[in-house]
Amino acid sequence: MKRVYPDKEYCIGCHLCEVACITAHSKSKDVIIAFREEQGKDGLTACKKVFEKGDICVAISCRHCDEPSCVAACISGGLHKDPETGRTVYDREKCVGCWSCLMACPYGAIKRHPTENKIVKCDLCEGREGGPACVAACPNQALKYEER
């Protein structure tokens, strides 16, 4: 399956991928409204996180692992592996906010929702024309959406 692969060699730590992610997952799809209103009100958060240490930066989001630890750890069936698309899918309704997945993910790719007892996780911008928003926004091609 196609995944988003980060390249630490050329990630410049601008965090534009996070900006794009937030906008893509906002109701308004408008960067200014998303940040000004939806962020505070709805707790809109990026599904990805740019980790930085010294010169090294890398943007991490869900790897959609073949054998996901988060799915194994999930007690409520809120996470499952879609056998057709290969994606690790999150079902917000079923999630009980126990944070088991968050602790199980070896990449630290799952975040807590800031205002609700829910998680925030990359869905590869399902349904978005042109694929994941972060990949499209990265100014240095440090994210690649491809089959490897």
């Binding site: 060699e9 410049i12 601008c14 965090h15 534009l16 200014i32 010169d55 240095n140």
Partner: protein, 509 residues
């Protein structure tokens, strides 16, 4: 922020942030290598310090909401055509520091740009123009000495004809444009690699500059011109044999008569290994080559390098465009050089004393016309190719340079602009916000060689197409027919002396 010493208040730029648009994402904070933007904890928003902005426009380009506008500081000094603001600012600085003023990139001084005062011809009716989309166009260029006459030998038995004249080594270019000398060290490895790849893809050359050649780039050697400058950094047998051509750098258009200085901060492990200097130590190339004090000395070096490369690589000598450049070029041709590179005063550089950059040398157009004419008059034009450099901004400049007598051109500043340079002129600080003139690992990452190589080859291809269009418009189907064909040029608004030096007629004649 406030209560700055007086000279700080004469900063050049102001940051305008539109509060309606700014989403406080801090992208600008992370992108500004001069720390002009910052996160203000007390106000809980992104703020800025205008005095730190150097006008590189990096933040403006990356702001996701286009909230930023970098403008010239609106408060200016009282208008005075003698005491222009730059002189005041310079004096304030020097009164504080007592030091030589350094500057990066080419001179911003308002000297005439003759490219803009020359117009090209186009054919009408009798000598029809050619459509480059339908007819083949030849941009192929060979650099190196050409034989005076060609002798053929016929095999008595088979009757087969073969070439008897021995040809000297040549550089073969698919388009008459090469990437100018920019050393690894002055620019980073990502860009050196990108230039090597783009030159290979476009069938042209890039020049190592005075910094040696990293071992991992030897594989691009067929598209590399290796430079030997006064500091002899990174020069050894394998290096000399790695390139397809060798260039002796005598002078540089941006700073004629001045050596080079790569500050210690730019010398990391890779640069140190390539240049053969210790990590962190300054690499100083003296102004003169300490073994060249006459044309005879130059001749010795030229032949030493020919020996070293087993006579397989043409030898170029690069000089700055200065007074009497034509006579100097004639001497160089007679000393056995295969190529002469003339670099005009608008050439760029990583660092030069500002006074030298702005006051020494002459424009490339005048130098080029004179060198070509002198070599023709002396009957030795075929002994050398001429490469023009120093302020070539577009394909129009390239084609005019060729009509004035150049065989090919070097592009340096245009190369950097293609990968983002905004000519902010602070290359010497090592903080290049576009990740070009820096080896800081955090900044040089901003140049992804995949993107950079693509941009560079796009540029060369685009200019190549435009050159074909212009040639077609003149009714020519090969760049060879334009070389030194000054009848295809006319001057506009130039004095008789200028026209005479350029060897062209005025428009209307």
């Amino acid at each position: 922020m406030l209560f700055q010493p007086i000279n700080k208040n004469y900063h050049e730029f102001c940051i305008e942030r539109d509060p309606e648009l700014c989403i406080n994402c801090k992208v600008c904070v992370r992108q500004c290598s001069y720390e002009a933007h910052y996160w203000d904890e007390a106000r809980q928003k992104v703020m800025h310090d205008n005095t730190k902005c150097i006008g590189c426009h990096r933040c403006e380009a990356l702001c996701p909401t286009a909230a930023l506008n970098i403008v010239k500081k609106p408060s200016d000094f009282r208008t005075n055509s003698l005491w222009r603001p730059v002189f005041l600012q310079n004096i304030y600085k020097q009164a504080d520091t007592g030091g030589v003023l350094l500057a990066g990139m080419g001179s911003p001084v308002d000297i005439p740009v003759y490219w803009d005062r020359m117009l090209l011809d186009a054919s009408q009716v009798t000598n029809p123009s050619i459509d480059p989309l339908r007819e083949p166009m030849e941009l192929k260029t060979f650099l190196g000495a050409k034989p005076r006459k060609v002798e053929l030998a016929t095999d008595k038995k088979t009757g087969k004809v073969s070439l008897k004249t021995k040809l000297t080594p040549q550089l073969e270019l698919d388009v008459p444009i090469m990437f100018a000398a920019m050393s690894f060290g002055a620019i980073n490895f990502n860009l050196h690699r990108a230039m090597a790849r783009a030159a290979t893809e476009c069938g042209t050359y890039y020049n190592t500059g005075e910094g040696g050649l990293h071992k991992s780039l030897y594989k691009y050697g067929e598209h590399t011109i290796v430079q030997v400058a006064s500091g002899r950094f990174g020069v050894h047998r394998d290096y000399l044999r790695a390139g397809a051509g060798i260039e002796i750098k005598v002078g540089q258009g941006a700073k004629p008569g001045i050596g080079g200085h790569l500050p210690g901060e730019k010398i990391n492990d890779k640069v140190s290994e390539t240049r053969m200097v210790p990590i962190g130590s300054d690499a100083i190339s003296p102004a003169p080559h300490h073994d060249i004090y006459s044309i005879e000395d130059l001749l010795q070096l030229i032949y030493a390098l020919k020996e070293a490369s087993e006579y397989k690589a043409p030898i170029s000598v690069k000089i700055a465009a200065v007074h009497n450049v034509a006579a100097i070029a004639s001497g160089i041709a007679r000393a056995g050089a295969d190529i002469i590179t003339v670099d005009g005063m608008r050439g760029g550089t990583g660092a030069a004393p500002a006074m030298i950059r702005d006051n020494v040398g002459i424009p490339i157009e005048l130098a080029l016309a004179q060198v070509d004419q002198r070599l023709r008059d002396e009957g030795i034009r075929n002994n050398v190719s001429i490469v023009a450099a120093g302020g070539i901004r577009c394909s129009g400049d390239v084609i005019k340079a060729i009509a004035l007598g150049a065989d090919a051109v070097y592009i340096g500043t245009a190369t950097l602009i293609a990968v983002g340079c905004t000519i902010c002129g602070r290359c010497y600080t090592g903080k290049c916000p576009w990740g070009i003139a820096t080896n800081d690992p955090k900044l040089s990452k901003r140049q992804n060689p995949d993107i950079a190589a693509k941009k560079l080859s796009n540029l060369i291809h685009a200019w190549g197409h435009e050159i074909e269009e212009m040639l077609g418009g003149m009714g020519l189907n090969s760049i060879e027919s334009l070389r030194g064909n000054r009848d295809k040029l006319r001057g506009i608004g130039l004095s008789d002396t200028e026209l005479d030096i350029l060897g062209i007629k005025h428009a209307g004649r």
